[in-house]
């Protein structure tokens, strides 16, 4: 009898343990993130009424923030390894400008390229090349020369900023036909349409960028969860030295994170370009801020080792829902958006800090 109860108690304890193990920091923060997103969306519906109940409103948030999702994914990767990359926003601007100038070269330099506009595939390669170059250089300096990532990427930010204006200092819309066709392409989502005021059925749509962004989220989710490289990211971010002891190449892992982040900045830049259809030095201003905020809201810890791409995805959605609320409340939007974003960042940073300190206490 007693042995039986003992066994039962053992099983119970094991179950408890498993339960606790299941609720790691990553999962706890992910749950908080999803809850925050649901709360935000409910708040939006409550405050702003019916508009937010239409599926297309949700898809519009996706359409507008596809590039931010891609950028935030890259940011999360770097942050999971314990680094940070604040150059992504300006790299986006640089990519937009470079692609725009290339695609419209027949307009900008008629004497050389008349009747010979740039093609989209090369533009995409340019975007990827720029991103990869930033990732390579920054990754090398951060990982192999052991310099603080913030300083390196701050320099990267300013370099990209300067280069953008060196290429072209003013905003202009791209007139390349091939590109416009791509930009205008809409992918309808079946069964999500709604009747408009005239009673005509309007199908819901997303842009190509959203497909790219969702694909990247899925790929990175798989990468982080089920591949060796992904697990290494967590190990290196969690504890540098013990990762080294385990035989993980810490430097190479960090380098890979920055490289991927740079590449994603290139892709994100092209997605932004597909949405905006223009080149401008002020494009994606403050995107690095939003990306960091989204990652943090999504449960990625600044100290490294904790984070989830799904969380980042919901972080972006929460952030943009808040922005939509602020904008539609009729407040001076540019100013108030910044203040709300900063406020959210602050709250979540404090939350992380509290969770961390509680964990330390629990260990003691």
């Amino acid at each position: 009898m007693s042995s039986n109860t003992n066994a039962a108690a053992n099983i119970k304890a094991e179950k408890n343990l498993r339960k606790r193990a299941g609720l790691t920091d990553t999962n706890l923060l992910l749950i908080i993130t999803i809850a925050v997103f649901v709360a935000m969306y409910a708040l939006a519906v409550f405050l702003l009424g019916g508009g937010f109940t239409k599926p297309q409103t949700f898809f519009n948030i996706l359409n507008e923030n596809a590039s931010l999702i891609v950028l935030s994914c890259g940011m999360s990767l770097v942050m999971i390894t314990g680094g940070i990359d604040i150059s992504v926003g300006q790299v986006t601007a640089l990519v937009c400008m470079a692609c725009a100038v290339y695609l419209d070269r027949d307009v900008l330099h008629p004497e050389e390229y008349a009747g010979n506009p740039g093609n989209v595939v090369t533009a995409l390669l340019i975007a990827l090349g720029i991103g990869l170059a930033f990732g390579l250089v920054q990754g090398f300096i951060v990982a192999y020369l052991n310099i603080q990532p913030f300083i390196v990427t701050l320099a990267g930010l300013f370099f990209a900023k300067g280069m953008t204006t060196i290429i072209n200092a003013t905003q202009f819309n791209v007139a390349n036909e091939q590109f416009l066709k791509l930009k205008e392409k809409r992918i309808t989502v079946p069964g999500m349409g709604a009747n408009n005021k005239l009673g005509v059925y309007v199908p819901a749509y997303v842009e190509i960028g959203v497909i790219v962004a969702v694909a990247i989220v899925i790929i990175l989710f798989i990468l982080l969860r089920w591949t060796k490289l992904g697990r290494n990211f967590y190990a290196v971010g969690g504890n540098n030295q013990s990762a080294n002891m385990l035989g993980i190449n810490v430097r190479r892992t960090k380098f890979m994170a920055h490289l991927l982040c740079g590449l994603l900045a290139g892709i994100g830049g092209f997605v932004y370009f597909m949405h905006a259809g223009s080149g401008s030095p002020s494009h994606a201003g403050g995107a690095e801020m939003n990306a960091i905020a989204s990652s943090i809201i999504g449960g990625t810890m600044l100290t490294g080792g904790v984070g989830n791409i799904a969380g980042t995805f919901f972080g972006v959605l929460s952030l943009s829902t808040i922005k939509n609320i602020v904008a539609s409340l009729g407040l001076d939007e540019a100013w108030w958006t910044n203040i709300t974003v900063a406020l959210m960042l602050c709250i979540f940073l404090l939350l992380q800090s509290v969770i961390l300190s509680r964990k330390h206490k629990a260990k003691k």
């Binding site: 300083i151 320099a155 300013f158 280069m163 204006t165 600044l302 203040i339 602050c346 404090l350």
Partner: protein
Amino acid sequence: MSTSQKDLKLKKRSFSAFLGNMVRQQLFIPVAALLILVLFNLIMDPSFFKIELGHNSAGDPVLSGYLITIIDYASELAILAIGMTLVTSASGGQDISVGAAMAIAGSVVLRVLCGNNPRPEHMQTSIIVAFLIAVLVSMCFGAFNGMLVAFFKIQPMVATLILYTAGRSIAAWINKNKLPVISDPSFGYFGNSIPGIPLPTPIFIAVICMIIIAVVLKFTNLRLYSQSVGINSSSSRLNGINPQMVKFLTFVILGVCVAVAGFIKVSRLSTINYSVIAKDIEMDAILAVALGGNSLGGGKFNMKASIIGAYVIQFLTTTLTKFKVNSTAIPAYKAVVVIILVVLSAPIVREKMGTLRKKLARSKGNVGKEVA
């Protein structure tokens, strides 16, 4: 070996030792950078160094020339560099919100002086009161940053990212998004020049700040405490220093520096543009600290080197502007300078260079022996 040969060898050795000492000095980097810039300008256009005594529109004597411009415009940067050096030393990170915080300080000054009317005939209060209120507000924002860093243990750069995002918006909100203009000429004295004195006032303000910080560093334990906290926070705690308090204090001091710099900045124009004022100055301030040879990871610092670094950066900016580089493209050049500097000062690179130099010396020595 004859004595003369020995002498020659000794001399050579002492000279190389002297060179080595020079290179190892922390002041070497900023001074060398300054010399390079001076030489470059001397070769390209000697008129760069001309200083003329002219008269401004009011008929007061004013010294003008690129050198005066450099020293004048570097004032804010030098003042910021003082605070930034302390923050860097104690917390091992940098405050990237200084530009936004300067906008807030400037906005507060104008709000207090203008009251509710954005175009007042007379100032509502004395300038000193407005300045002191701005200092107080800036200290509060510094304390906010300091609190996040010291008590909540958030990395300084990320903690200050909050104010970096919100700062300019807060500055606009303080003045209800209006652009106040002060027409009273006495407000402009602090950013331009006082009638009768040919040098711009910011130079004097910067010198006063330097004297104050020199006195503070000389007579208080600030240097010792912030350095020891920066080098090893937990061991300094065991030695009876409160590391959280020291970190917090450095951010508050930076707040004061920011207020002074912001005050000069609004006084220059007697108005404010929230999105442009002190734009990208955080980069320059960090660059000044890095150029001064201070480790950006915290610990030991050299205040003189940082301040010289600030002047070097303004020298670089003015040189670039003079050679018709677009002002929006300047960040790209500065970024290259930063990267070169941090890469050269990285411990790994230094180590590699050291071993390379030794190898070279050894191979040279071998060749010498063979010849002998």
